[in-house]
């Protein structure tokens, strides 16, 4: 069984954080909350999402899985105001999700969880540099990089964190010293990432006051934010481009 009430904005942000990478996802439900692990079709980026039952106004659930079409859920959420409370209930008989908001009831059919791409295995990464940065700073750097290239470097030289993109003629570089960041563990790192992915991820991260990023040399990055007033967490992992042989 699954029955829960949550603020519209929290639910909307949650859906967006997952749909940045995939169109459909398997939501794992437990008595303690909801979690999702999903990888994009090319196996380049993955998202792990956790939302504790404390993020909800009420939450009752037994163990289960819901296959959800994220584009559809997101378009249903467009009909809610930020301040609305959304009631979600699984109809066990029809196996549909009933979504209620201010007198509107939407019965959404679910996807067969076995038809959704398997949850990825998560590589364990040992990354030398960690920075904690304001979300808006990441978003701005990505936006600037998009103007010149399809790719962006993220790296560190000792106490300096940098983001850099170079096109055929133009170049963008953002440098931030340790004292301009919220926190930083110094080191050397430099990896190249596709803006196809970073753009979508930075839209989600851009709203967060604090973003924790771990980077290495030609290694995947990990990016983590808190959601729902600290009652949830989203983390992304993104594989790099490596242009040297």
């Amino acid at each position: 069984m699954f029955k829960a009430v949550i603020g519209a904005e929290k639910l909307k942000d949650s859906v967006e954080s997952i749909s940045a990478l995939v169109d459909e996802a398997k939501f794992r439900i437990t008595p303690d909350g909801i979690s999702v692990k999903a990888v994009d079709p090319a196996n380049v980026a993955m998202v792990s999402f956790e939302l504790s039952k404390d993020a909800f106004d009420s939450f009752e659930a037994s163990e289960g899985e819901l296959g959800i079409d994220l584009a559809k859920l997101s378009s249903i959420m467009d009909m809610a105001d930020k301040t609305d409370n959304i009631e979600l209930e699984l109809d066990e008989n029809t196996h549909k999700l009933v979504i209620q908001m201010r007198g509107l009831s939407y019965t959404m059919s679910l996807l067969d969880p076995s038809s959704i791409r398997k949850e990825p295995k998560v590589p364990t990464l040992d990354l030398p540099v960690r920075i904690v940065i304001r979300g808006e700073d990441i978003k701005r750097a990505v936006k600037a990089a998009e103007k010149v290239s399809d790719y962006m470097y993220m790296g560190a030289n000792g106490d300096i964190f940098f983001m850099e993109a170079e096109g055929d003629t133009d170049k963008v570089r953002v440098e931030m010293a340790k004292d301009q960041l919220i926190d930083m563990s110094s080191g050397d790192a430099r990896s190249l990432f596709s803006l196809d992915y970073l753009t979508d991820i930075s839209k989600v991260a851009g709203k967060a006051p604090e973003v924790t990023i771990d980077i290495g040399k030609d290694y995947p990055l990990k990016l983590k934010i808190k959601i729902a007033d600290g009652h949830g967490e989203v983390s992304y992992m993104l594989a790099p481009r490596v242009e040297t042989e």
């Binding site: 990888v39 079709p41 980026a45 990825p120 990464l125 596709s194 290694y219 995947p220 594989a239 490596v242």
Partner: protein, 417 residues
Amino acid sequence: MEQADSLFTGSNSICVVCRGAKLLCGKARCPVLVKFYSRAKVKPLTENLGIDGSSPPGVFVGRIGYPYVSVGPLIPPEHGDTMLLDTPEMWLGKSIDDIVDFRSQLVRGKHLVHIRDFESSKIIEATREMALCKNPVDVEAEFLKKPAARLVLDDEVQPFGPTAPLKKMDIGNTKFDSRMEKATNDTDMLARDAVIELYDKGTMVSGIQRAFSAGSFGEGKARRFVPTRWSITAVDSMIGANLMEKMKDNPVINEYMVFESWQLDNRFVVLMIPRAWSYELIEAWYPNTVWNPFGKDVAIMSSSEGYNGRTAYAEIGGCYYAGRLAVNEYLVKEKRQARVVILREAHPGYIMPVGVWNVRENVREALRNPPHRFQTLDDVFGYISTRLVIGKERWIQESTVLKETKYQKGLEDFFRT
């Protein structure tokens, strides 16, 4: 090595971008096509103002003057089973001379009409009926002028012969393809759904394209004539996109596969990569081939799409969609998914454009034969370099999808072993 490099320097010729369609050179007629016309030996087929023969059936809708277009049948001066003449699915293994020879027999009758005007003339009614027939149809046509002896060439559309304005035409008995008849009688069904249903029932792509151009499908009020050139790509694109949705649910292949087909001095290599779907067609035109007539260097052009597809029309034109249909047809049949790159080298024996069927049918042909299988991209190019002239570095440099495959790591590359 230096020699190989010098062969490839310089920019692409505008011809490879234009392909006779856009007249980018600013001239009133495409000089490349004019050159072919002057060479093509077309005998006058008829000294009369009329022709009497079995249409394959063939129908042609022009694009000049849209929305007022020239519509009419393609008629050879002979009776009998002429189906071959307008069925590109049957043309593999034919030489350019064969194709020119039988296509130049087709006289195109034309009648100027608005794309939505289906009723003003018997010529139009008869032409639209023919487009639904599964067997050749006897046609007697009278022209206003004697058909001018010539061959018409186009990069997308198969060549055809002399053209003349129609005065009147009569057709013999028609027997509709029952699948087509059902689709055309359903005036609530979207054209796209009709196309896909006919394809799923095994109707030939060229037949669907012919009926599509005659405005046979779609919601009643939306029906219209569609220029042949556009209808070929519309149908290739719709069928391909539909197959692609199914293909994306399939598991990814687990090794590299290389298929090939050589026709008309075109070399096609279809490379399937064990990664999630994306697609690219790369064409290399040698100097003195159709779309690189004046260059000293090989002209290379490509279009590609990622996993989520593309929304803008492919830079290289209809051949992109013809190839995409053929590879998805294979992947759906094999219940697999792959990243696909088609490498095409057009060598100097490819002297005139014959239409995008050349790409569709050659890719299909390549995929009918068993592939060579490899474990790494290096091994793949070790083999390809024995089949194609252009080398690995140059292909990768020109290719979005190959670069992506080579440089973009996957998360699986970072599991500790």
